[in-house]
């Protein structure tokens, strides 16, 4: 391999680092108007009266729309229906609002300043309805209903099961419990949401162009087509540079519909850029779940049964099915052999921002459950936490491994490949785990409390249904790759170029990758679920292979030699034993068009050196990871400091180790935020208490520790590249490993750390309730 697997710097960075990126706010289309939204201050209310007249009169205002204009608006589509789900989707500009921040009216004006001034002139009379925000309230029998038309707040109630966990638990000699209270977080990309819609009414049919900060231009086109009753071929959705997404931009929001609809009404391009407060109160959240879990193990620490009871907050609407709790419930066994498992999950509607997948998507929660239960069991049995994990991991020779559960698409859950013991061993080695265990005792003698946490987890990546790529040889000899992906910083322009460069054995500078635009390729789904490297990567590989074969065949016919006698390298097709007989790829691209117009086409292949290939994987490829963290907790202030962080990932065959390392680094930083700092807080009436970055604490580079990152490469048998996803795995073990390390540091107090994020104030509370430090036992 000359290109795949090489540490090549990202092609996109010089442009972005110089500030030459072009985001939605940078687009300069003359005559573009600005949109701004009036948002509900109530969590649940009916709009009794709304007066838009004063706003309409303000100079510079083009139009103001309210619930009266939206009477015929459709509900947003149900994207991931599920037999157990009672779906409620959002309707733009409805008369009833179901969370603080839901749009109530929209102003279109010359600029954002005027639009926001006009918002101040709108008066609304609300009739407040009973609201519910917290999980423990929503589950009560007499709880206020998040949606008045429903009988209860239960959006879905489902179970997962392997064997007979309840029966097996009765016979388990050692049984341990742990509760988990996992907080809610925001996706928080640096670039907030944004959209620019432009209609052209002068052509034979109305044509719509939408520039969007989106992860899924093809999905957005498909939804717009349905909602606006406009054929897909009259809609183009393009994502220019997108400044991060993490799940926030995979969703289709009511604002997306409203901006496009308004642009049609006012017959001018309309742009909306979300501000940070709007992001906190209207862009999807994730993570919030409560668990009560029980683990039964044998005397030698082997898992006998796991039982989990889950409550998951859904928020007010269902923008992306119940994928997150399903993911959690199917991945609690994770990398461990669990012969008996039962999970009962209730997903609850509340008057809060909807939940949908955020980087990690239900898996960081899953990784917490069994890892933390194993900590409890290890303590009870007096076994080292690493050792109890080692005894329960699925072994390398047991793949493909059937867990006995169903995957999120209803097919049997099968892990394709992996080597979890090796990943764990590498992490133990790289982190100097046993050395730290020794140091822990010394530190403690000096009055310092350090703790070591370990967690092993998996991620199912590269889900279907499909993605595609077109590969074309240009007459300049350069290769153009067009894909159905959208990039928000993943480095696709480099990794996909490496794949094409590998096939043609030519420098990546000669390969140009374009994506994020529905005009490039007919079909696609979007960037989510750590899928792009696997699925788009394979599409690029297959299309490049095909077009290479075609180039070889044309060259063979031209030189009258057998295909086997030819090879491709550095932009030429040449005869292996007579390299002087050669033709450049550029000339071949010209040949493939025929000699000149009006002549008979000379080759026995179809004209043109361009091929489109779609790849639909048979199943998800499973990545594995083990993280080990060393933390120090100050018992007086409860300040937590991460002293060392080690992470070993098996992301399959790496396309570009530098890019994957960056993804892991970013994922862990995300995870550190989840584990220690970030939390979206609502009061019990559904008032959002964290709507700015003063109130919502995000780690800066000072809080993110140095990391030791390593890789194990177990190729996936499910695609020709052996690739597995890498975009999310960094986030997954972090909450588990930090919670574990903090509890370990405070072992003398014998407290159970159940919250995520782990906050000093909460620890102080637990320590106050606990007795005096017990005798130091290690």
């Amino acid at each position: 391999m000359n290109y795949i697997g090489k540490e090549i710097k990202r092609k996109i960075d010089p442009r972005l680092i110089r500030g030459d990126g072009r985001y939605i706010a940078d687009l300069n289309i003359p005559g573009t108007l600005s949109a701004a939204f009036l948002r509900s201050p109530h969590a649940h209310a009916r709009i009794k009266e709304i007066n838009l007249e004063q706003a309409r009169k303000l100079s510079g205002v083009t139009a103001v729309f309210g619930p009266g204009d939206g009477k015929d608006f459709p509900f947003l589509p149900v994207l991931f229906p599920h037999p157990k789900l009672v779906p409620v989707t959002q309707r733009p500009l409805d008369f009833i609002v179901h969370h603080v921040g839901e749009p109530v009216a929209m102003v279109i004006a010359e600029n954002r300043y005027i639009a926001e001034d006009a918002l101040d002139l709108i008066t609304v009379e609300y009739e407040q309805l009973p609201a519910v925000a917290h999980l423990d309230d929503a589950i009560k029998e007499d709880a206020p209903l998040a949606h008045q038309q429903l009988e209860s707040n239960i959006a879905a109630h489902f179970q997962q099961s392997i064997g007979d966990a309840k029966e097996a638990m009765k016979d388990a000699p050692i049984v341990v419990n742990h509760r988990f209270k996992i907080g809610r977080v925001s996706c928080l990309p640096i670039e907030t949401r944004g959209l620019l819609a432009k209609w052209d009414f002068k052509g034979p049919e109305p044509e719509l162009e939408v520039y969007a900060a989106t992860q899924s231009q093809h999905e957005m086109r498909s939804i717009l087509s349905k909602l606006l009753k406009t054929p897909e071929h009259n809609i183009r959705v393009a994502a220019p540079d997108v400044g991060g997404a993490f799940g926030a931009k995979a969703i289709f929001y009511v604002e997306d519909f409203l901006v496009v609809w308004a642009a049609k009404q006012v017959k001018a391009p309309v742009r909306w850029i979300e501000d940070r407060m709007e992001h906190m109160m209207s862009c999807i959240h994730e993570r919030e779940q409560y668990h009560e879990a029980t683990l039964g193990v044998s005397e030698d620490g082997k898992i006998i049964a796991v039982i989990d009871k889950m409550l998951a907050n859904n928020g007010a609407y269902v923008p992306w099915g119940i994928i997150v709790p399903i993911m959690t419930s199917t991945l609690i066994p994770g990398p461990y052999k669990v012969p008996n498992y039962f999970c009962d999950a209730k997903v609850l509607y509340t008057n809060t921002v909807p939940m949908a997948p955020f980087r990690g998507a239900g898996r960081p929660q899953a990784a917490l459950i069994l890892n933390r239960l194993l900590d409890q069991a290890a303590a009870k049995l007096n076994i080292d936490p690493v050792e109890i994990r080692r005894r329960n991991l699925i072994q390398e020779n047991e793949f493909p491994y059937r867990t006995g559960l169903l995957s999120r698409d209803g097919s049997p859950q099968i892990y394709d490949s992996g080597d979890y013991p090796k990943v764990l061993d590498e992490a133990v080695k790289l982190s100097d785990y046993y050395e730290w265990r020794k140091k822990q005792k010394e530190y403690r003698q000096n009055g310092k409390y350090i703790g070591i946490g370990v967690a092993t987890a998996i991620e199912n990546t590269g889900f279907g249904s499909f993605e595609g790529a077109t590969v074309r040889i240009e007459e300049t000899g350069e290769i153009t790759v067009l894909t159905s992906a959208a990039t928000q910083g993943q480095g696709h322009e480099t990794t996909f170029a490496q794949i094409a460069a590998e096939v043609f054995d030519m420098p990546i500078e000669k390969v140009t990758v374009r994506e994020g635009d529905t005009k490039l390729i007919t079909y696609g789904t979007g960037t989510f679920a750590s899928r792009m490297g696997v699925i788009v990567g394979t599409s690029v590989f297959k299309a490049a292979e095909k077009i290479k074969e075609k180039a070889l065949q044309i060259a063979g016919e031209k030189f009258n030699v057998k295909r086997e006698e030819l090879q491709v390298k550095n932009g030429y097709v040449f005869k292996t034993d007579e390299p002087a007989i050669r033709i450049s790829l550029g000339e071949l691209a010209h040949e493939a068009k025929g000699i000149f117009p009006g002549t008979t086409y000379p080759y026995n292949v179809q004209p043109g050196l361009e091929v489109t290939e779609y790849f639909a994987p048979k199943a998800a490829s499973i990545t594995g990871m083990t993280d080990i963290a060393v933390v120090e907790v100050d018992p007086d202030s409860c300040a937590i400091k991460v002293l060392e962080y080690t992470s070993i990932h098996d992301n399959g065959k790496l396309l570009n180790p530098l890019v994957v390392k960056g993804q892991v680094h970013g994922g862990i930083s995300n995870g550190i935020g989840n584990a220690l700092y970030e939390e979206i807080v609502y009061d019990n009436q559904g008032q959002l208490l964290t709507s700015t970055l003063m109130d919502y604490l995000v780690p800066s580079s000072c809080e993110v520790p140095e990391m030791k990152i390593g890789h194990v490469e177990t190729p996936s048998p499910l695609n020709p590249l052996g690739a597995k996803g890498a975009g999310e795995s960094g986030t997954i073990p972090v909450p588990a490993v930090i919670q574990s390390a903090v509890e370990d540091a405070l072992r003398a107090w014998n407290i159970k750390v159940e919250n995520i994020p782990v906050k000093p104030a909460h620890l102080k509370d637990l320590m106050r309730k606990a007795k005096e430090p017990a005798e130091i036992i290690l």
């Binding site: 201050p41 109530h42 603080v100 407060m277 109160m281 009061d683 008032q687 964290t690 003063m694």
Partner: protein, 149 residues
């Protein structure tokens, strides 16, 4: 959030009760109150300018006095709306005379919503307690001024 407290006034229970039912006293005691008009008996509309955390706003408020048991207690309901959000309060005010002073006791719930809830929550309950305390202190001051005359 719960807001409760007490203020001791150097006056008789009658004097305090009258002050607590006097629009002029209510107006001068309400922080930032620019206008207070009696809509009907025991029902007022007010315009209040108030800064909470980083958010300064003009509020339109409705104040109602209910469940009167003269001269011992009443319930005060307040609802204030602004572009910055809303504040709602519901409190029972009780008087207790203990020669020669009267104790005003208040105990209620306040709910804050919209922008002010979102940007100021860390200091909100402190501010709410301060504003309410300030209100009753000013009433006490008004009464002492009056009785002094």
């Amino acid at each position: 959030m719960n807001v409760k407290g007490e203020v001791i006034v150097d006056a008789t229970q009658e004097e305090v009760w009258n002050a607590l039912n006097d629009p002029e006293v209510l107006k001068s005691a309400t922080p930032g109150c620019k206008v207070l008009t009696e809509v009907e008996k025991d029902s007022y509309k007010a315009e209040i300018a108030l800064g909470i955390a980083a958010v300064r706003g003009e509020y339109e408020a409705e104040i109602k006095i209910l469940d009167k048991v003269a001269p011992n207690q009443y319930r005060l309901i307040m609802k204030a709306d602004s572009k910055m959000g809303f504040i709602e309060g519901n409190a029972v005010v009780e008087l207790d005379f203990n020669e020669p002073k009267t104790t005003i006791r208040y105990n209620g719930e306040a709910q804050v919503g919209g922008l002010i809830a979102g940007v100021g929550q860390r200091i909100l309950s402190g501010i709410a307690k301060m504003i309410v305390k300030d209100f009753f202190k000013k009433i006490a001051k008004e009464i002492s001024t009056r009785t002094a005359i």
